[in-house]
Symmetry: D2
Subunit: 340 residues, 4 copies
């Protein structure tokens, strides 16, 4: 059997993670080509992974007839266009989240995806492939919590990355805290509940980094949501977790509660010292979701081989972006916002 | 030194707890008189605590010149009037929460309290006297969390008590989930932040017990709040915690996070069995706050002896009721509500 | 009813704890007299608890006909003689552990105790009165662990007290690590298993404090034991727990495992900071067993009032001392030691 | 670069794990040949992994000139001979633990290994490659615990496997609890302390499965050990952990304590239900050490490619077997045993 030839666009932290996973962990795939506008990323792909086909232009790359599939890890603003181009070239597409930044643009993109039902499209909601999340989902689907009444999701980046975020946000548009961080959590709310979100109210506060005010960014934000069936959802997002990378999900149901990563435990070590009883913590997303990134990519490649669509669809991307935008609008208007 | 003679009104679960603590744990006080309209509670006080002065009428009881102080543990609707009557008789007053159900009525009561500055008035926010809460408060005041950005409070009653609550709510007015349960959490938000609450949005869902709909009650509710200085607060209240009595508080600040009773651990025992690793849980409020109830009552008696006012004031009662009523209003109107 | 008049001998840390508990927490008893050779302790009793009957000589104190019971908290070497004297005077006796340091001497003392069956005798194994230990004992007796196969007990004092211990051990005979610290754990092994200990091997190591070698003391020690029915027991004792006061007990049975204070959690607070996830720890025995000390003293007073003997007997003291001495002998001889 | 061609002998649970890891996770290696006397294992290799070169005889397999390396996962009694044969054929060897069952036999085997310094030899102490153990080792080597004084290791198999173990032990010689289970823990003691073990005492008890008595096997065993520098070690081994697979290691030092897998947490999920607060548990060694098995095999293949010897040596196998045999002897003689 021939290996799947993959071309990747974007070799920032996210792109590098996918590139390495293809090379080291997925024998069925081949990192065939890479595309980047940054010279340094370009060199990186050559040196680190021995990629020979290198492009500075996405459209050129996908002209290469040996490529079977693309991984889109470019800045968010490019996603929809690159998805459409690749789809129309007959390629399978794995795109990082968010699928896009504008609702109409996303809808148009989905039309094009839908018109190529034999090509695989997968969106990078890797948490669904994390072992603990999958374990929880199975329990919830088996009914151990009864009917869900409330879902709480925390997604807080480590303080250690705040400085570099401030730099980034000064020159680029992150999309805002809810679009950038909470889309994962919004997806989890929808995935666990099987429900769409109806109404949101969002708040934020900048305390440690008031310079974020000028950038229109938030250090910490919270959103409360009502789902179609009255289930409640609470999201906390932030960029200032002193203890590391805090992604936590709670599900409250009529028959019990369940928490995933109630504490962001790094491993199975406990230290007893002058501080007390200490559990070291996960420091960032590549560490926390290392296995999940591998498993989502294995799934993408398997779907191509087996000719079946993955669990995470383009519509999941549309819905989560809709809700994230509603949160951003609520921050601006200080009002309750109905989702579409 | 003579013991402080205390008269108690109301001998339901709350009243019994206070009565027993006076008798067993507070050598400086004497359970001198009891007042109840329920024959059974009447007999209970006589039999259990040997109380000799028994009354069916509060006004009669406070005529007794030997009484120094009263504990008000009657139904919420009676609190303000009994506080006023006792204050005007020159007695020290410990009143259970809520201070009252109507804002104007509470304000009037506070005027009367304020006009007797030499008499002690204390409200039953016992959580402030819990060892873990006091430990946390000290750390927060010392600044280990930096500036607070978000406070999350859970107060969920055990499922085992839901049936008896349904009976109670059928015949009486509980005041609603937020007034009945969340006032404690609202008080904690104010205590930890030193800020008043500006705006709220509240939601609720009945799933396991749809009969609560007819009673206008909620099985699970959530409220998001903005404080005057933009700090965020999230409250979850409920009556259906299958695992026991779940009171949890989280404080997020610019320098760290802190959780009080992240898990409602009953004691220091861990069991390893077919279920996995099991920590038994606290089952109800008298168990969880046993020590806090004793300590708040010791504080009340100490205040009388030392001639100083306690930390929990009538104004704390007014503010927490205001916010609880705003939550109830938000549930009804489905809108954002500005607090006063 | 008249209060029980209690005379206490020894007002070191242990004696002060008992004295305060009598005064503050036990309305049925009265701290009537105190005996100490240390001027400073003498003054303390007067000033702190208002004790009026003060003695420098134990025999004189028990001549006072108003005394109903004595609490013996003097240095270990005095216990047996004071027990005998008080028993023969017709007094109820609460003695701190160990009951004595010499087996024959203890046996003779027990004869005298046994010849006064109407007087209460209780030994200070307060752990049996701790809430978590009582909870565990109930579960074990109900059979949730099946048949016990192994018991592991840790008793490690905090490093912060090592310096003052070195001073103490320079001038006094502590009895050695196993007699001083492990008697509590030996008692727990016997209490949970209902079995006597047959054979022991003990080891020790001084690393942080080699000066302990000269004192014949151990920084950390371990003992493995075989019980009569082949159940195994493992004891670790020490004086250098950097994280606080570590008392932990594990029970392994055919149907499950159970741990008491697997981690010495101070309270219900969890802190998330640069260190990771931190649970503060209990710092010393008065903190860890505060409630247990009150409850054992309440039990002593109740036994006097009700005319029944407590659960902890003089024989428990004899047996635990026997095993502790066997451990000390094992350390010296480097051999397996059969107990008696 | 050509892939390393590997021949495996033994396709029981351990062999299957290694075979799958080679195929799925190690692109640099190729599962070239398999050897088994069991028809069913034979078929399995063909069907599951598409292995074409199949042998019923180890000597025949290693005649195949295409083979670069062997993995020995046959019954323990065959290890030494197969190691010698493969070494003398010029092959790299990965052998499952224990290296052998007889000290003289192991010593002779080590001579042969040592006489082929350019061939890689690695022993299957996979725990050293587990992420949590590696994290702990780094901290210990950096000195965060100061000087080690005591090491405690638990290795308890799940009850669910006891029945199949009884069947196995009826027809085969497991080597006994300490040789079969504790060699891993003995290796950890040596690895963490850098010290050899001097003296042991071992005990055992059969309670749930008295039929183990007849087989000369133990349900639960414990051993206490003294290391050359007086450091203490405590081992508990067993076959009856009702809650799953319990492998736990504790390190006590002069500056702190550290525990690896204090609780055998399966993942990051916590469930709150009628039982209390429940953390699901790891159920068996393939689950607990899944990643470690992959990482040790990656290390073996890397060592071959890089031409360097791995961290786990044949001498580690010799020493751990020596100590395990001393434990078994202690069980028989009921005496303290000096290790060689």
């Amino acid at each position: 059997m021939n290996k799947i030839n993959i071309g990747i666009v974007g070799l920032g932290r996210m792109g590098q993670t996918h590139a390495r996973n293809i090379v080291v962990n997925i024998p069925e795939a081949n990192l065939y080509a890479a595309c980047s506008v940054a010279e340094i990323e370009f060199e990186y792909a050559k040196r680190e992974f021995g990629v020979k086909e290198l492009y500075q232009n996405f459209e050129e790359m996908i002209e290469n007839p040996n490529i079977d599939a693309v991984i889109i890890a470019s800045p968010s603003g490019f996603h929809t266009e690159q998805i459409r181009l690749a789809m129309e070239k007959g390629l399978h597409v794995f795109s990082e989240k968010p699928i896009g930044l504008d609702i109409e643009d996303i809808k148009e993109t989905i039309k094009i995806i839908d018109s190529h039902p034999n090509q695989i499209f997968q969106l990078g909601f890797m948490r669904r492939y994390d072992e603990s999340y999958q374990y929880a989902k199975k329990l919830v689907d088996e009914g151990i919590l009864g009917e869900l009444t409330l879902i709480r999701c925390y997604g807080i980046d480590p303080s250690t990355e705040l400085e570099s975020f401030v730099k980034f946000a000064t020159s680029s548009n992150s999309g805002g805290l809810f679009s950038d961080m909470s889309v994962h959590d919004i997806d989890l709310v929808r995935w666990f509940s099987g429900q769409e979100i109806k109404r949101v109210w969002a708040l934020g506060k900048n305390a440690a980094y008031p310079e974020l005010d000028e950038l229109g960014e938030l250090e910490t934000g919270a959103a409360m949501m009502q789902l179609k069936d009255e289930t409640m959802a609470i999201l906390v997002a932030g960029r200032n977790a002193v203890h590391g990378y805090h992604v936590e999900t709670e599900l409250i149901g009529t028959k019990g509660m369940l928490r995933i990563a109630q504490q962001p435990e790094k491993n199975l070590v406990t230290i007893f010292n002058e501080q007390g009883i200490v559990r070291p913590t996960t420091q960032n997303f590549p560490e926390r979701f290392r296995e999940a990134f591998i498993r989502e990519m294995k799934e993408f490649v398997s779907c191509i081989i087996d000719g079946r669509q993955p669990n995470v669809t383009a519509n999941d991307g549309l819905q989560s972006t809709k809700v994230a935008l509603a949160c951003q609008k609520s921050i601006k208007t200080k009002q309750l916002i109905d989702v579409e």
